[in-house]
């Protein structure tokens, strides 16, 4: 694979080809430090400001720090345990390896759930871009309230169209530019902390109250914990495909806990501090009051750059993942990008609503990803004792070990459905309405546990006795 110039179709064909094929041991390129650096780069992105900002609505600095640390630790641990070990052991792409759980046709189900999350994040990043533009305009001129929504929506749509054009030329160059985002945001965070600490003492920061004063303090604490569980579980879509490039099991697993957990926690706490200090959960409103018009606008422009690179990378990953499915395998690249960006554009039309419901996206991420993490843990570690037949993973005949019912494991889909249902019973991700059970248990963790128990029991009762699923090591 040299450096020869490739057309976009060739580049994508090559990427898809490499994605689907299992990686051989000598092709694994990342040691512990390499993968740690990658995960830190992923964790420190513009969305950590949004996560910290949304927490400022519900919690003060002390309880917020605790909720962010606890939620992320649990979420990232289970997401990584679920995906990293299996993908790393076999070197096989995450959604291909999931054929052992959902069947060779059934993997469309977890992929669809992941695509829903990717569409949501893309729309949020573009809505944030629209708000960046609005706040830059506000810094230099008077903006009437009536035109604000037009500015944010049209800039968000233009941003998405720009990303579409960038992806026509391939994502390689802009994905390379994205490596400057994490260091830049790191410097921005240090600047934010220093500026805020020059104005307020630690005692004064600890005394700042949550923005939403209508909720009970404990309820706010658990909601913040739940949203950070969602942020942690959200990595489930990515971790397996990254971890398979690591050289050992340890270097595939622990860097996730360092980068995606600890560094994301630190960055989110900075966002929480800024949210509490400036009295708004919208990060685009922090920069000008924080650093003045000149530097503030520069910081906003850098956030815009970070959002563009993150969106291009997200759309690229989402479309390459779609390319693994037979339905999309021979489709032209730009057709595929268009299919993915159309729902993003439709959501972006309601950029005001999307941006103000970032918490809902985090909660939905927990709703969908926590059952997927749980089901794979039970299947791989408990039922299969960490052994998968790699030849059967790539087979599609009716006699295939992972054929289940015509290529679909109905038990897996039903178990995830039960987990998602449990989540909705405990917590409404749209209104955040909840009851006593949620305030004792949260929602993602019970949803994951219900999925795990249901899947274990139903597999033992129906799948294994019927000889389906290739559970030769189950007893």
């Amino acid at each position: 694979m040299g450096d020869e110039k490739l057309s976009i179709e060739e580049e994508i064909a090559r990427e898809s080809w490499n994605e689907v094929l299992p990686i051989l041991p000598h092709e694994r390129i990342w040691g512990f430090l390499d993968y740690t650096r990658i995960t830190i780069g992923l964790a420190i992105a513009t969305w950590v400001f949004l996560i910290g900002g949304i927490c400022a609505q519900f919690v003060d600095l002390k309880t917020g720090t605790a909720a962010i640390l606890a939620g992320n630790s649990v979420g990232v641990l289970f997401a990584a345990l679920s995906t990293a070990i299996a993908s790393n052991k076999y070197g096989i792409e995450q959604f291909t390896l999931l054929r052992s759980v959902f069947g060779y046709r059934g993997t469309l189900f977890p992929l669809t759930l992941s695509e829903i999350i990717w569409v949501g994040w893309t729309a949020i990043l573009m809505a944030m871009l629209g708000n960046v533009a609005l706040n830059i305009l506000r810094a230099v001129m008077e903006v009437p309230n009536a035109v604000e929504i037009w500015i944010t929506t049209s800039v968000a749509l233009l941003g998405l169209i720009f990303c579409w054009f960038v992806l026509r030329r391939g994502a390689k160059s802009i994905r390379e530019l994205s490596r400057f985002v994490a260091p830049g945001l790191g410097i921005m965070m240090i600047l934010m902390v220093v500026t805020i600490l020059r104005e307020l003492s630690v005692g004064e920061l600890l005394a700042l109250q949550p923005l939403d004063q209508t909720r009970d303090r404990w309820e706010g604490f658990i909601i913040a914990f739940e949203l950070n569980l969602g942020a942690g579980f959200g990595w489930w879509c990515f971790v397996g495909n990254l971890a398979r490039l690591s050289k050992t099991k340890r270097s595939a697993f622990w860097p996730n806990m360092i980068g995606l957990n600890l560094f994301a926690v630190i960055a989110s706490v900075v966002g929480l501090v800024a949210g509490l200090r400036f009295g708004t959960s919208d990060p685009t409103q922090w920069m000008v009051p924080l650093a003045g018009a000149g530097l503030g606008v520069t910081m906003l422009l850098f956030i815009a750059f970070g959002n563009i690179t993150a969106t291009v990378s997200t759309v690229y990953v989402a479309c390459v993942a779609l390319r693994q499915r037979t339905l999309f395998q021979h489709m032209r690249w730009m057709q595929l990008v268009t299919i993915f960006t159309v729902p993003c554009a439709m959501l972006t039309l309601f950029s005001g609503w999307v941006y103000s419901h970032f918490g809902t996206l985090l909660a939905i991420t927990g709703t969908l990803m926590s059952p997927l993490a749980g089901i794979w843990i039970v299947d791989f570690f408990v039922l299969r004792r960490q052994r998968i037949d790699v030849r059967e993973i790539f087979g599609t005949s009716p006699s295939n070990a992972y054929a289940f019912w015509r290529g679909v494991n109905l038990v897996a889909i039903a178990s995830v459905g039960l987990g998602v249902g449990t989540y909705f019973l405990l917590f409404d991700p749209f209104t955040f309405a909840n009851g006593r059970a949620f305030q004792s248990l949260s929602a993602s963790v019970p949803a994951m546990l219900v999925t795990m128990c249901a899947y274990y029991l139903l597999t033992r009762l129906f799948v294994i006795p019927s000889g389906r699923g290739g559970y030769v090591h189950a007893d």
Binding site: L24, H26, A66, L69, A70, R250, V390, R391, F394
Partner: protein, 76 residues
């Protein structure tokens, strides 16, 4: 590690003008070559390192102890 494993190079995908059948056939050949390295006759994969007690202790720390301690400290 066998010589084949250390010296094997990923075969490039066929050129863009190749037909769908040619592409699929080339893919199957490359897949078979890789599976024969990854999963020889016994069809079992060679693990690349196992966790020990320290790893499980750290998992307990991150998954149970740190969240409980953080929540307790945060609420006090």
């Amino acid at each position: 590690m066998s010589e084949e494993m250390t010296n094997s190079k990923p075969a490039p995908p066929p050129e863009k003008d190749a037909s769908r059948d040619q592409f699929d056939a080339a893919f199957q050949r490359e897949l078979e070559r890789r599976l024969s390295i990854l999963a020889p006759e016994d069809r079992d994969f060679r693990p690349i390192g196992e966790f020990n007690g320290i790893d499980y202790l750290l998992m307990f720390l991150f998954g149970v102890l740190i969240p409980i301690l953080a929540m307790t400290w945060g609420w006090r």
